[in-house]
C-alpha cells in the first residue's frame, strides 16, 4: 500500500520508511510559528516548565498580526511579552510592525515555507503553506511551546481525501470560489482529521495565490492539512522567495484515499457562504437580494496581489454605494507597496474604500471594522461563525474579492460580471 503526499512528508520527518493512517508518531519540525494571541500562552507554558532556550532560533517564527498595531493596553502588553521573549531567545524570524504582515501571507513571502517542509503553527490557518507542497498544520499554544523547546511534535498520521482538479476556471472564478464550492460539497467536518490533497491537470490553471487561498481554507472543512502537488508554478515561486533547501514529494500511484472527488473547474460559479457556517454555500445565481453594510477585502485568505488586483479592477472608475463601508487590508507590507506601485490602492481609495495596514483586524472581530447588531458584511475572509466579526447578531457572508468588490458598488451581493464582464 502506497503513501499519500502528506504521509510521505510525515514519514520522512519521523525517520520512518513508512507510516499508516492512525499511527502515532513524533516528527522533527522545520518551522514553529505563533502570533500575538497564541504565543503569550505558549511562552508562559515554556517558561513555567523551565525551558530556557528554543531548539533552533532560525526555525521559530513569531508574527504579531492579530491585535496589531496594538488595539488596546492589554494587546500592547501581550505584544510586549512576545517581543521580549523573541529578543531573549534571539529568534531570527520575529517580525515587528513595519516589516510584519498577516502571518500566512508573510511566511511564504519570506521564503520560510518550502516544498516538503513539516510546519506547525499556533494558528489554525497554518495549513496555508500546503499550497507549496509542505505538510503544514495548525496546533495550539502548548504544542507551540513543546515545538519551540524540542523541535518535535506528536502527530496522528491522517488518511486523505483526493481532489482531482480538471479544466480551467472561467471569468471571475478564483481559488476562493473553488474552495467554497468544495466545502459546500463535503461540509465543515467533511475532512475531519484528514488531509485534503489537490492533484490533477487543473492545478496548472491555478496561480499560487489561488492555491494559497484554497489550502488556507482546508481547516474550514475540518482537515488536518491541505496540500497541492508541486509543479513549475510552485518551483518558480520558491525560487523567487527562498534559498532554503527543499524536497518535492509526490503521492504514490497506489496511495490509498478515503474518497476521491473529480472537480471540473470550468463548471464552478462564483460562490458565497451564507451565515453562519462556511459550508452554507450558494452560487451567485442563487443568492437573491442580500443587502450589505460593510465589505471587507483582505486577510490570510484573500489579501494577496491577485486579490487586490481583482478588487481594484472592479472598483476602478466606480463608486462605493452610499452608506456602504469598504475596508481593504493587504496581507503584508510588500503587498501593500506593490499595490501602491501598480496604482491599485489609488483606484480603491478613489472608489471610496479605506485601506488599512496589514493586520487581522476585522477578520476576527478584533478591531478596525467591528459589526454592530443586525449589520451584515460580505467578506473575503474565511469564517462566518456567530459573532465572528462583531455583535453576535451580525452576519458575515464569505466570498471572493471580485464578488466583494462588485457588492461594494451595488450595496447588495452581486455577480462581478454585471459590473465588468470577464471571459
Amino acid at each position: 500500500m502506497g503513501m499519500t503526499m502528506s504521509q510521505k512528508i510525515l514519514a520522512a520527518h519521523a525517520g520512518l520508511e513508512k507510516v499508516e493512517p492512525g499511527q502515532l508518531i513524533e516528527a522533527k519540525l522545520d518551522l514553529v510559528l505563533g502570533n500575538d494571541i497564541t504565543t503569550p500562552v505558549a511562552v508562559k507554558e515554556f517558561e513555567k516548565t523551565g525551558f530556557t532556550k528554543v531548539f533552533d532560533k532560525s526555525k521559530v517564527a513569531i508574527v504579531p498580526d492579530h491585535f496589531t498595531p496594538n488595539k488596546d493596553i492589554k494587546a500592547a502588553e501581550q505584544c510586549k511579552m512576545i517581543r521580549c521573549f523573541a529578543r531573549q531567545m534571539d529568534i531570527e524570524n520575529y517580525f515587528e510592525i513595519g516589516e510584519m504582515g498577516i502571518e500566512h501571507c508573510l511566511i511564504p513571502e519570506k521564503g520560510l515555507a518550502v516544498p516538503g517542509d513539516l510546519i506547525i503553527g499556533a494558528d489554525s490557518h497554518t495549513c496555508t503553506y500546503g499550497a507549496l507542497g509542505a505538510f503544514s498544520t495548525g496546533i495550539g499554544s502548548t504544542d507551540m511551546a513543546a515545538g519551540m523547546a524540542t523541535g518535535k511534535c506528536w502527530f496522528k498520521v491522517p488518511s486523505a481525501i483526493k481532489f482531482v482538479l480538471k479544466g480551467k476556471p472561467k471569468g471571475w472564478v478564483s481559488g476562493k470560489d473553488i474552495i467554497l464550492h468544495i466545502i459546500g460539497m463535503i461540509g465543515v467536518d467533511g475532512a475531519l482529521y484528514k488531509s485534503m490533497e489537490f492533484v490533477g491537470d487543473g492545478v496548472k490553471n491555478l496561480t499560487m495565490d489561488d492555491r494559497f487561498t484554497m489550502a488556507n481554507m482546508a481547516i474550514e472543512a475540518g482537515a488536518k492539512n491541505g496540500i497541492f502537488i508541486v509543479d513549475d508554478i510552485t518551483l518558480d515561486y520558491v525560487k523567487k522567495h527562498s534559498t532554503k533547501p527543499f524536497t518535492v514529494y509526490e503521492p504514490d500511484p497506489d496511495a490509498v484515499y478515503d474518497e476521491v472527488y473529480e472537480i471540473d473547474l470550468g463548471e464552478i460559479r462564483p460562490t458565497v457562504a451564507f451565515p453562519h457556517l462556511p459550508d452554507n454555500t450558494k452560487t451567485i445565481d442563487e443568492v437573491g437580494e442580500v443587502e450589505i453594510d460593510q465589505v471587507v477585502i483582505g486577510s490570510c485568505t484573500n489579501g494577496r496581489m491577485e486579490d487586490l488586483r481583482a478588487a481594484a479592477r472592479i472598483l476602478k472608475g466606480n463608486k462605493v454605494k452610499k452608506g456602504v463601508r469598504v475596508i481593504v487590508f493587504p496581507g503584508t507590507q510588500n503587498i501593500y507597496l506593490e499595490a501602491l506601485k501598480e496604482g491599485l490602492i489609488q483606484d480603491m481609495v478613489e472608489a471610496g474604500a479605506v485601506v488599512s495596514t496589514p493586520t487581522c483586524g476585522p477578520c476576527l472581530g478584533g478591531h478596525m471594522g467591528i459589526l454592530a447588531k443586525g449589520e451584515r458584511a460580505i467578506s473575503t475572509t474565511n469564517r462566518n461563525f456567530v459573532g465572528r466579526m462583531g455583535h453576535p447578531e451580525s452576519e458575515v457572508y464569505l466570498a471572493s474579492p471580485a464578488v466583494a468588490a462588485a457588492s461594494a458598488i451595488t450595496g447588495k451581493i452581486t455577480d462581478p460580471d454585471t459590473i465588468l464582464k470577464r471571459d
Partner: protein
C-alpha cells in the same frame, strides 16, 4: 479518575468563536477567560455552571481557530469533561495537551439531555446517565495520550522525560 455533574447540552459545530469570542483574547488569564466562556451561544452558562459539570455536544465540537483559550476557558469555568460525537482536531489536541478530559461517544450524546446528572469513568471510558439509568462506552485513550493526561499536560510530560529520548 472520575467526573460527575450536571449536563449542559449543545448542538453540532460549536466553534471556538462562540466558546470564547476573539474580543476577549487580549488576555490569557484562565479566570478572566472563564468569565466569557460560551457567551455568544449561551449567555447563562457562566452564571449556571458549577464545578464538576459536564458539556455534551454534537459533531465537530471546537471547530475553527487554534486558540487554546477555548479549552482553557472551559476548564477554568469548572467543567470536568466534554463529551461530543466528534471533536475538531485542533481542539482535540489542545484539550489533551492542557489536561481537559474529552470523550467521543455518539450514543451518549443521543442518550443524554440538558440537566441530566452524568458520571464518567476515564479509566474505563464508561459514561453513566444517573438521571435516566443508562450507560454508554466511549473509546479509551491511546496509552500515549493517557500519559499526557496523567502528567496534567504535554509540557509536564515532556519535562518528566529526558528531552533527547523523545
Amino acid at each position: 479518575m472520575k467526573a460527575k455533574g450536571k449536563v449542559f447540552k449543545y448542538g453540532d459545530n460549536v466553534d471556538t468563536d462562540v466558546i470564547i469570542p476573539a474580543r476577549y483574547l487580549n488576555t490569557s488569564d484562565p479566570k478572566e477567560l472563564a468569565l466569557h466562556c460560551m457567551e455568544d451561544i449561551d449567555k447563562d452558562f457562566v452564571k449556571n455552571v458549577k464545578e464538576g459539570d459536564i458539556i455534551v455536544a454534537g459533531r465537530n465540537f471546537g471547530c475553527g481557530s487554534s486558540r487554546e483559550h477555548a479549552p482553557i476557558s472551559i476548564k477554568a469555568s469548572g467543567i470536568s469533561c466534554v463529551i461530543a460525537s466528534t471533536f475538531a482536531r485542533i481542539f482535540y489536541r489542545n484539550a489533551i495537551n492542557i489536561g481537559l478530559p474529552i470523550l467521543e461517544c455518539e450514543a451518549a450524546v443521543e442518550g443524554i439531555e440538558a440537566g441530566d446528572e452524568v458520571e464518567v469513568d476515564f479509566d474505563t471510558g464508561i459514561i453513566r446517565n444517573v438521571t435516566k439509568g443508562s450507560t454508554f462506552k466511549a473509546q479509551a485513550f491511546p496509552e500515549f495520550m493517557k500519559k499526557i493526561m496523567a502528567a496534567d499536560g504535554l509540557l509536564n510530560y515532556l519535562k518528566s522525560k529526558a528531552t533527547d529520548d523523545l
